[in-house]
């Protein structure tokens, strides 16, 4: 319908653009190999694929920081609006590297757990687990790289179809019920998103995010479309009050799967919401909606934390803590406001929000893996029965504690830096009420973490019964993730330049070499 004035795309794929295709295709090749080579080699193939994927993620990061501009791949050499583009900017690359690290760590953790056992009868679960793990990594990369709203729809569906079976891997009725509920919420979300896509296409004749940024007008059509898509994605992100599928699904899955679901999968749909609100909606149009999103986020923080404190089982406690921590992400929307001089992505709240996303991913993965080890060691995860458990498997509980430290926001940790930046932003923006919520959330998080840690580290009255020894390798993986959550707290407390790469002002948008600082 309308022809955009200037095409914000280079004439051809940028150097290094092929890396973006590899990031999506390598996991899929891995899946095909798993199914052709048979279950004896499943683990080897999957772990090799994850290692290659991590190398590709680092290569994209190097390419991006080297050139200082976005990496773009034009599929088939066609420029949008006719063709599709894949685009990696600073934000995408941070998430791709994060995904590679967390999924890689989970892979090392799960090695042996879903492995080939020559003596046992052949089972489907190992093949299925590794297939789904690779599927999630490929689908998430597609979300982070996609530049076309319909492409993103396909990607988010791929994530759903790989995440739902992970929930019910053990095949029990209870977990299948949780998986079904998750799937129904996700399907409701996806049709609403698709309806929004239809409306946007009818109004602007393109679905490319970079093009939409230049043609989007403040009008009812855009508001309705974005509202539909946002609500759909909120159902998949599990923001309060659409979170009710999450605790049962995340707590019922095997520990390795829970870690991926809680740390990464919910962030995929959140990433698309970020794209919609900061890359398509004109800045002057976000006011009331942003306050509403943050309001739901605040309710999620308070409600999720209070319910977490009341849980009897460790995995449910961690799952409700995810509900609360997702709430923090939505405080970004009113706080990361842009102006003429400093765009939204250059504000401290933007950096704080992304830091929260990353630190929560590491911390939550570590805590779910630790909870899995607790279950393996004692045969249950009832918090009341864990008195003295920390003296039997100290490394596991140190990992849990360090992860919890990041959730509470104690320095030095990623969670501390994230919450500190957000606190500063809320005071600086004159929106002190969000600061109150952030502080309350930290206190409540301390409540549910110490509720587990204090009895676990205390000298028990009777020695706790150990069912099976835990593997040192698995303990170390959980610890390594928790330490990562701590280490990213050492980034400087200012807007991170990396996050701004490839997100320059409209004129210089995406043009290699012509990036406005």
């Amino acid at each position: 319908m309308t022809t955009p004035l200037a095409l914000p795309f280079p004439a051809d794929t940028t150097p290094g653009g092929f890396l973006l295709v590899l990031a999506i295709l390598v996991p899929i090749v891995g899946i095909l190999l798993i199914w052709t080579l048979g279950s004896r080699r499943t683990e080897l193939v999957a772990l090799t694929t994850l290692a290659i994927g991590a190398a590709i993620a680092l290569a994209i990061l190097t390419e991006l920081t080297g050139t200082g501009s976005a990496v773009i791949y034009l599929v088939g050499g066609w420029r949008p609006p006719l063709g599709l583009a894949l685009r990696a900017d600073g934000l995408s690359v941070v998430l791709i590297v994060l995904t590679a690290i967390v999924i890689g760590a989970v892979g090392i953790f799960a090695k042996g757990q879903f492995g080939y056992d020559a003596d046992a009868p052949e089972k489907r679960a190992p093949t299925v687990f590794w297939t789904l793990l690779l599927g999630i990594s490929g689908a998430l990369n597609l979300i982070f790289l996609g530049d076309d709203l319909f492409n993103l729809f396909v990607a988010i569906e791929l994530v759903t179809f790989t995440a739902v079976p992970l929930v019910c891997l053990d095949g029990k009725a209870e977990t299948m019920r949780a998986a079904l509920r998750y799937l129904l919420f996700a399907l409701l979300g996806s049709v609403m998103y698709l309806l929004g896509v239809a409306l946007i296409y009818s109004g602007y004749g393109t679905l490319d995010i970079a093009l939409l940024k230049s043609v989007a007008r403040v009008e009812p059509l855009l508001f309705i479309a974005i509202a539909l898509m946002t609500v759909g994605l909120l159902a998949k992100t599990a923001l309060f009050p659409l979170h009710i599928w999450l605790p049962a699904a995340h707590a019922g899955a095997p520990a390795a799967a829970s870690a991926v679901l809680s740390a990464l999968v919910v962030k995929g749909s959140f990433f698309i919401i970020l794209r919609l609100w900061f890359d398509i909606l004109p800045a002057e149009a976000t006011g009331l909606g942003a306050q509403m999103l943050a309001g739901l986020g605040a309710l999620a923080i308070l409600f999720g934390s209070v319910i977490a404190i009341r849980q009897a089982r460790l995995k449910l406690l961690i799952a409700y803590s995810t509900v609360a921590q997702i709430g923090y992400l939505f405080l970004m929307f009113p706080l990361a406001t842009g102006s003429e001089a400093t765009p939204a992505f250059a504000s401290i709240a933007w950096t704080g929000g992304i830091l929260q996303l990353a630190s929560h991913a590491f911390a939550k993965a570590a805590m779910f893996l630790a909870a899995g080890l607790v279950y393996d060691a004692f045969g249950h995860d009832r918090i009341s029965g864990l008195a003295g458990a920390g003296r039997v498997i100290p490394i596991t509980f140190i990992a849990f504690g360090l992860g919890g430290m990041s959730l509470m926001g104690l320095p030095p940790s990623g969670g501390f830096s994230a919450k500190w930046l957000m606190l500063n932003a809320s005071v600086g923006e004159g929106q002190w009420w969000w600061a109150a919520v952030i502080l309350c959330g930290g206190l409540l998080a301390a409540g549910y973490v110490f509720r587990v840690l204090v009895p676990a580290m205390a000298r028990p009255l009777a020695r706790i019964k150990v069912k099976a020894p835990v593997s040192r390798r698995r303990e170390l993986v959980a610890l390594a993730l928790a330490i990562m959550a701590l280490l990213i707290g050492f980034v400087p407390l200012e807007p991170a330049p990396l996050l701004g790469i490839g997100r320059g002002a409209e004129a210089g948008l995406l043009v290699p070499g012509g990036l406005a600082p």
Partner: protein, 126 residues
């Protein structure tokens, strides 16, 4: 668009909206999983109809319809089909698991709960 042009595209658009409405009602309020899945397909059909209307409206240069929305619909139908297949499989497995366990709501063998377990803690979230 003037008031006189109540063309077929508008009619189809309204039908699409009605289907989405009926489907959403069922998806949110109906307690039975199978009916929820059917309702999801109703919403899907409504959205696809809207895509068709957009294709017709956006037609230019002598084409009968804009091909892009049509291509999107085909992909959308494939995705909705896979989603339905996955959901129906889950319902089927769930039903057979519940039958095996004797009564609905009881999972098959669970690891020993220990001696101090409070009843019903596993269902705290459901």
């Amino acid at each position: 668009m003037t008031g006189a042009t109540f063309d077929t595209a508008t009619l189809y658009g309204l039908c699409g909206a009605a289907l989405v409405g009926i489907g959403l009602f069922g998806l949110v309020l109906d307690p039975k999983p199978i009916r929820k899945i059917l309702a999801f397909n109703l919403v899907g059909a409504g959205v696809f109809l809207v895509f068709g209307v957009i294709a017709r409206r956006g037609a230019a240069a002598g084409f009968g319809g804009d091909p892009v929305p049509q291509a999107l619909v085909i992909t959308g139908i494939v995705v909705a089909f896979s989603a339905t297949a996955l959901a129906v499989t889950l319902v089927q497995r769930l039903s057979s698991a519940a039958t095996d366990a004797g009564q609905p709501g009881q999972a098959a063998p669970v690891p020993p709960k220990g001696e101090t377990g409070t009843p019903g803690q596993g269902d705290a979230a459901s």
